[in-house]
Amino acid sequence: MAFSGYGAGPGGAPQQDPLFGYFSAIAGQDGHISADELQRCLTQAGITGSYQPFNLETCRLMINMLDRDMSCTMGFQEFKELWQVLNGWRGTFVSYDRDGSGTIEGQELEHAITSMGYHLSPQAKNCIMKRYSTNGRIRFDDFVSCCVRLRALTDQFRRRDTTQTGNASFHYDDFIQVTMSI
C-alpha cells in the first residue's frame, strides 16, 4: 500500500535515498516489509537483472537473516544493509556468468564460494552445488539463498566455536532451532 505521508518536496526531503522510494512505496504506514513485500521490492528494483520475480523462499530467508526482533519483517535500515550485501553478491555472480545467461554453472558456484572466503571441503562444496542447481545451473536468487545460508550458518557456528579452533559443540535442542531457522 503506497504511503504518501513522507515529506517529498524539492530540496526538503528528509530521505533522498533512491532506495527509500522503492521501500516506502511498498512498506506502507508501518515502515516494515514482509517476505512477500520484499519480493516485490527486489523485483521492482531490478536486482536480478531480469523481470523474473525473486524467489519468495529466499526473501523469507533474507528477512530472517536480519530479523533481530523476531517480527518476520524488515525495516528500512535493514533493507539498506541487505541491498548492499545483495549488490556485493550480484557482483560476484555476474563475474562468473560469463555467457550472460543469468545463470552460472555448478563448478562456478564452487569457485564463487571460495572467492568469498569460504574454505570448504570438496564434499561440502559438492553438497551445496547439488542443493542449489537445477539441471546443473544456478540462478541468481538461488545463489543468494546459498550465500544467505552460508553466512547465517557460519555466524551460528562461530558463536559456538569458543576456542576458535574450527570446532563447535551443539546441544540437540540448540542444533534443531539453529538449523530450522535458517
Binding site: 570448504l120 545460508r149 552460508l150 563447535a168 551443539f170 530450522m180 531457522s181
Partner: protein, 185 residues
C-alpha cells in the same frame, strides 16, 4: 550420562488394513493404471483440508520414503506403507487439532512437538509456523504439518549419526556442520 532421551518418539501405531480395501484404494489412486502411483497421482488423492493442492514437497518426501526401487512412485506393496504413514499422521493431526479447525495453530503445534519429545522455545514456534505455513494463515494445514515434522526428523537423524555416545551433544568441525545442514534443509 543420558537421562531423558532428547529424541522424538515414533507416531502411534494402527492395526494393518484389509488387503482388499487397500487394493480398491490403490486402483482408484493409480489413475493411469500403470501399477505404480506417481507423485502427481498421490498428490491428487490427498487432501490438506483446503481446496489447494497437497504440498508437492511433502508428496515427494513420502513417495521417496517408500519407493524402494527409485522409480519415482510406489507399487501396491509399497503403497501399504504409504497408506499407514498417512493414516498415522491423520490421527496425530486430529489429536492435536483440538479445536477441530482443520489447522494446527501455534499452541497446538507446541503441544504436538513437545508431545513428540522436542524441547523448543516459544519464539521458535513463530519461526516454524512462518517457515512451513504455505496457506499464510499463521497456522499449519495437514500437509505443512507433516512437512515440518519430516524436516525435524531428518535433522534429528543427522544429529544422531554424529552423537555416538548418545548424550545429546555433538562436536563437529565447520565443514561437517555445513555438510550436515545442507543435506537436509
Amino acid at each position: 550420562m543420558a537421562c531423558h532421551s532428547p529424541y522424538r518418539a515414533a507416531p502411534h501405531m494402527n492395526a494393518p488394513p484389509d488387503q482388499g480395501f487397500l487394493w480398491n484404494i490403490f486402483q482408484r489412486v493409480d489413475k493411469d493404471r500403470s501399477g505404480v502411483i506417481s507423485d502427481s497421482e498421490l498428490q491428487q488423492a490427498l487432501s490438506n483440508g483446503t481446496w489447494t493442492p497437497f504440498n508437492p514437497v511433502t508428496v515427494r518426501s513420502i513417495v521417496s520414503m517408500f519407493d524402494r526401487e527409485n522409480k519415482g512412485g510406489v507399487n501396491f506393496n509399497e503403497f501399504a506403507g504409504v497408506w499407514k504413514y498417512i493414516t498415522d499422521w491423520q490421527n496425530i493431526f486430529r489429536t492435536y487439532d483440538r479445536d477441530n479447525s482443520g489447522f494446527i495453530d501455534r499452541n497446538e503445534l507446541k503441544q504436538a512437538l513437545t508431545g513428540f519429545g522436542y524441547r523448543l522455545s516459544d519464539q521458535f514456534y513463530i519461526t516454524l509456523i512462518e517457515k512451513f505455513d504455505r496457506q499464510r494463515k499463521g497456522q499449519v494445514a495437514f500437509d505443512d504439518f507433516i512437512q515440518c515434522c519430516i524436516v525435524l526428523q531428518r535433522l534429528t537423524d543427522v544429529f544422531r549419526r554424529y552423537d555416538t555416545d548418545q548424550d545429546g551433544w555433538i562436536q563437529v568441525s565447520y565443514e561437517q556442520y555445513l555438510s550436515m545442514v545442507f543435506n537436509v534443509v
